[in-house]
């Protein structure tokens, strides 16, 4: 069902709350992958608060939709959402990165409820997602598998190996996303190694491709819903995003791929986010 104006407003509010929590946890944990966690947030919020068929009380529910964060370094953003959804007590996030904590930078599926697969080494998630999607078909289950990749991750050859496979198997129960924030650790993706045209590459490999503004909930919703109707091929939604979205000093800055925050920076970041929150229309 398409998103209503009210629905979009609710998701927008939630996304800024999640970003706020990411900043708070980053302050206490010493450092995190802020840039990519902030850029992916709107798509993850749309999935977790609107589209995924999940039940936090039953994290192993057989019929749940699966989500694989192939860009595993976005783990702090993902864990913030899983905690908020009630997969675990979100107060536990105060121990993020601490010795013995269930939460490290890259989430561990054996320790974090709601985390469907351990990821972190780039280029692995899509093949795992394919296994889950093929598994659904073999079991005659109607769950969908979603997989989010980073754009720098597309340099990995395994992404393309897996893409061929997903196209060949016509996995229309699989939806992938690219968090196209155009920056990798060392700088702009197109300066380091050309990735474009990303959509045409996937199209040639047998995918339906959609290119959207990854911070526009109406567009995100429309794309996810369209992907659910596409038959006979997987869909990839290339989400144009801003690395560090919502925090002035971090937006579009490669150096904020990973970073720590002192109290001044934290307050500055929270002030930016709160301003966005106050400016939500209606």
């Amino acid at each position: 069902m398409p998103l209503t104006q009210e629905g979009i407003k609710g998701l927008t509010k939630k996304a800024w709350e999640i970003r706020r929590a990411i900043i708070e946890t980053t302050f206490t944990c010493g450092g995190s992958h802020l840039g990519g966690s902030l850029s992916q947030t709107d798509v993850l919020v749309a999935l977790y608060y609107k589209y995924l068929r999940i039940d936090a009380a039953r994290p192993q529910w057989e019929d749940r939709d699966r989500f694989i964060l192939s860009k595993g370094h976005g783990g702090i953003g993902w864990a913030t959402i899983l905690g908020d959804k009630g997969f675990f007590d979100k107060a536990l996030l105060k121990d993020f990165n601490k010795t013995g904590s269930p939460f490290g930078m890259h989430l561990d599926s054996r320790r974090v409820k709601g985390c469907d697969a351990s990821t972190g080494s780039l280029g692995h998630g899509l093949a795992i997602a394919i296994g889950l999607a093929v598994g659904a078909r073999l079991r005659k289950k109607d769950y969908r598998t979603y997989c989010m990749m980073g754009d720098g991750e597309l340099c990995e050859g395994t992404v393309w190996e897996a893409s061929i496979l997903a196209g060949h198997h016509k996995l229309d129960n699989l939806t992938a996303f690219v968090d196209r924030n155009s920056l990798m650790i060392d700088g702009p993706t197109e300066q380091i190694t050309t990735l474009e045209p990303i959509d045409e590459k996937f199209k040639a490999f047998g995918w339906e491709t959609l290119v959207i503004d990854g911070h526009d909930f109406a567009a995100i919703g429309e794309a996810i819903e369209k992907a659910q109707t596409i038959k006979g091929k997987p869909t990839i939604i290339i989400c144009k995003t801003i690395k560090g979205k919502g925090v002035d000093i971090m937006e579009g800055q490669a150096q904020w791929h990973y970073g720590g925050l002192n109290s001044d920076l934290r307050d500055q970041a929270l002030a930016c986010i709160d301003k966005h929150y106050r400016e939500i229309p209606g």
Binding site: H124, A127, R139, G157, T158
Partner: protein, 335 residues
């Protein structure tokens, strides 16, 4: 098939390890409906095709894409299946080491890997297709069980046992056209329990894979020379049968290991780790492929060249028997 038996083969002594594997897997398909067989364009070479012919809907050939294959296997295991994956050892332990480690072992998933053409058993193919590193690599992955069956019948036993064994299992087989060392499959195979192929007092030869055949042959030669050699088939490298090794130190004070693998990191290293912890003197030699890329040739010639066939074992035994071992009879203080 007799009641209680999970598999049977006729002419098992004439089949290669991979042929027995393919047949046994296809026989296990009904008992284990969650098995999904996967390969990367090596269906016929690894013999996994036999399963695919019987259960086409449960067989996936990903093409020449090993990394995706192991990632996909992880996803299928997360979806509740029991993937059985086969390609050559080199492409498993080297090319896809990270997928096996991070996607499968880290998540402790129920994926069974049967890797073929291991060691220098595909000698003519050259080092791109040899794999003398896989035991070292695989045994260093937490959660992984590592099995090197001695022959075809033992491969069948290992595959059947692996289906009941929790977590990831790596079963390594050669290309092998060697005669079998086991006359029957019914000798009480258990993962993690070494098998004494022959009793002996003077020296113990601990072998795996094709090394077991050579060790048994060497022991026969040594017997004619008046030496009593114990032969242990250490088919499970991890978890290793510590008791069998400690007993061998205690009883014979001389141990030789034999494997088709680099001398660094394989069976010999695993056995040495146990020996050294006993704190007891023990003459020790490792036989296998020295730290090099093997010359090309037929496997039996290569095993002779690198001195881990029966001739090489006999030669090394003679050398080790001349060595003086300082014995310490008090076992309670150290082990």
């Amino acid at each position: 098939m007799a009641e209680g038996m999970t598999w049977s083969v006729t002419d098992g002594d004439k089949l290669t390890q991979a042929e027995v594997y393919g047949e046994v897997l296809s026989q296990l398909g009904d008992k284990y409906p969650d098995i999904i067989a996967i390969t990367a364009d090596l269906a016929s070479s690894t013999k996994i095709e036999r399963f695919g012919k019987k259960y086409p809907e449960r067989f996936i050939n990903v093409g020449i894409a090993e990394n995706s294959m192991f990632g996909m296997a992880a996803g299928l295991a997360l979806a509740g299946f029991k993937p059985v994956v086969s390609t050559f050892a080199a492409f498993t332990a080297l090319r896809s080491a990270e997928q096996v480690r991070t996607d499968i072992c880290y998540q402790n998933l129920d994926v069974k890997i049967i890797a073929t053409h291991a060691g220098i058993s595909f000698g003519q193919a050259g080092s791109t297709h040899h794999c003398t590193e896989d035991i070292a690599v695989m045994r260093s992955f937490a959660n992984m069980t590592v099995i090197v069956p001695a022959d075809g019948l033992e491969t069948g036993n290992a595959v059947a046992a692996a289906m009941e064994w929790p977590g990831p299992v790596y079963i390594r087989v050669g290309r092998g056209f060697e005669p079998p060392v086991n006359k029957t499959k019914d000798y009480g195979y258990e993962i993690g329990k070494a098998i004494t192929m022959r009793e002996g007092r003077d020296i113990t030869i601990i072998a795996c894979g094709v090394g077991v055949l050579h060790a048994v042959r060497a022991a026969e030669v040594l017997a004619r020379q008046g030496l009593s050699a114990r032969v242990i088939n250490m088919h499970t490298i991890k978890p290793i049968d510590r008791d069998a090794i400690i007993q061998a130190v205690k009883d014979t004070r001389r141990i030789i290991t034999v494997e088709d693998h680099n001398l660094i990191g394989g069976l010999g290293s695993a056995v040495a780790e146990v020996i050294i912890e006993t704190g007891k003197a023990c003459g020790f030699r490792k036989l296998g492929v020295p730290d090099c890329y093997s010359i090309v040739g037929y496997p039996e010639d290569l095993y002779h060249y690198y001195k881990f066939d029966a001739d090489g074992i006999v030669e090394t035994v003679s050398e080790l028997m001349r060595m003086e071992i300082e014995e310490d009879e008090d076992w309670e203080d150290e082990v």
